[in-house]
Amino acid sequence: MSDLKSNTVATAQAQTRQVAFRGGGFAPASHRWIGALVFILLVTLAELGTRQGWISPLTLPLPSDVLKTFGELYASGLLWAHMSVSLTRLFVGALLGASLGVAVGVLIGLFSYVRAGLVPLTAALFPIPKIALLPLFVIWFGIDEGSKYALIAFGTFTPTVVATYGAVDNVDRSLIRMGQSFNLSWMSIVRKIVLPGAMPGILSGLRISLAIAIILLVAAEMLGAEYGIGAYILEAGSLYDLERLFAGVTILSLLGVTMSATIGFIERRLLNWRQ
């Protein structure tokens, strides 16, 4: 009897082991500092490479020189001269394009006649490289600010329209049903159910539209602009002044990061109701 007992204990011991964990990965977590680390690593690598000579100064300027150029730009007051013009163009153009885009997108989402009429038109306009239309805009709106606003507005308009009507289409139908079942007016349903419900889609569309706006800003400033980051980069490029070119590009990148962070902030504030 006792023999039997010890025997079972022995087999039990022989088979005891921890169940292997295999459920790891596939779970995105936020590590903010890694992005900065990668950036610093790349810049340090470029600095080391150009200093020690295994990157030719013809291919890449010294990051510290770029920083110096940037400092000079700031000290001369030209930075602000370029930035203020560019930011105004970006703001006016993107505001025009995005607000028109959201309005048209909502109309497409709500009315099937508008959808039938405008969706093919947007599909036709979307793939046109807007930069190709710049000469046309110059004729229509003049060589001054008008053509630049128009180019940026037009470029942000189409992606915003597409994102917005997609977002309106994706609003939970059962919530709209609920609104109707409580006799809410059409206006109330649009204002209190459709628009807030479409907000996540509209904001993620804006991320893309605003990046496109920055690209088009540079394109717009390539024609008939004295000041502006685009003009600055273009001038540096034609003189093969790599330090200034990179300083300008850095400004654009920073602009993009700021823009994306701003939208991220708005999303966190406005969409805290999401799961």
Partner: protein
């Protein structure tokens, strides 16, 4: 206010869903509609509330709703249909705003319905913070806020686990006992039907027809979990439905 359905039939193209439904929903009673899946019971409920129109027959309101009734035919949905971006209070005030009820008057109504559904301390919570049972209680509170003449409940407990379901059934019974309301309660769960229904309409599989109407005389507050008389009724209902459910299950889905 009573509701009368007379000769309601419905088909999508040549796909018949409901056939000749004639039914009376008397004021102050709960009418349960049970049937196998796809028998058109939810469609029938959408006809009663005017969210869809039948191809034949009519849905009639007999008498007028009480004066203080803001939305005579009010739904409670299976998926709760709460706005995720509004708090509990905001979800209730949503249905009052359109009637021009704001400020102190709205506050009074909201406080009352939250107290009746035992949600007072959660008035600031967002739907994502609430459990399924609490979400449905918010939806019930929202329905009570408009003081409905008829509550149209579309499988209101089907998305909940069985314990929560028991609790909510008790809540519904006590709400009804305090102030009797008229309700049409669609469900596929026979236990819910025998607990809450004054009469139970058994429907056949598609095209849905009324097979039998079973009446239950026991007062709602005397029906309890595991009651043997109720079990008997439930067995009887299941026996009525069993073949239909089996046949409905074996059907191909037409989409």
């Amino acid at each position: 206010m009573d509701i009368r359905l007379s000769g309601v039939s419905h088909s999508y193209d040549d796909f018949e869903v409901l056939r000749d439904i004639t039914l009376e929903i008397p004021s102050g009673r709960i009418v349960c509609i049970v049937g196998p899946s796809g028998c058109g019971k939810s469609t029938l409920l959408r006809f009663i509330g005017g969210l869809e129109q039948p191809t034949k027959g009519e849905v009639l309101q007999i008498g007028s709703p009480p004066k203080d009734c803001l939305n005579p035919l009010t739904y409670i949905f299976q998926d709760f249909a709460l706005l995720p971006w509004r708090s509990v209070r905001g979800n209730i005030s949503l249905v009052l705003e359109d009637h021009g009820i704001r400020g102190a008057r709205a506050e009074a109504i909201i406080a009352d319905v939250l107290a009746r559904t035992k949600l007072t301390e959660f008035h600031k919570a967002l739907p994502k913070q609430l459990s399924g049972g609490m979400k449905q209680r918010v939806a019930i509170a929202r329905a009570l806020a408009v003081n409905p003449a008829v509550m149209l409940m579309d499988e209101p407990l089907s998305a909940l686990d069985s314990q929560t379901r028991e609790l909510l059934m008790d809540d519904l019974v006590s709400l009804w006992t305090r102030t009797p309301f008229t309700a049409v309660y669609v469900t596929h769960n026979l236990a819910e039907a025998v607990r809450l229904g004054h009469s139970i309409v058994v429907m056949s599989r598609r095209p849905g027809e009324i097979r039998e109407v079973v009446h239950l005389e026991t007062p709602l507050d005397q029906r309890h979990y595991g009651d043997s008389a109720l079990e008997e009724k439930q067995k009887y209902l299941w026996q009525l439905m069993r073949e239909e459910a089996r046949a409905a299950d074996a059907e191909l889905v037409h989409v």
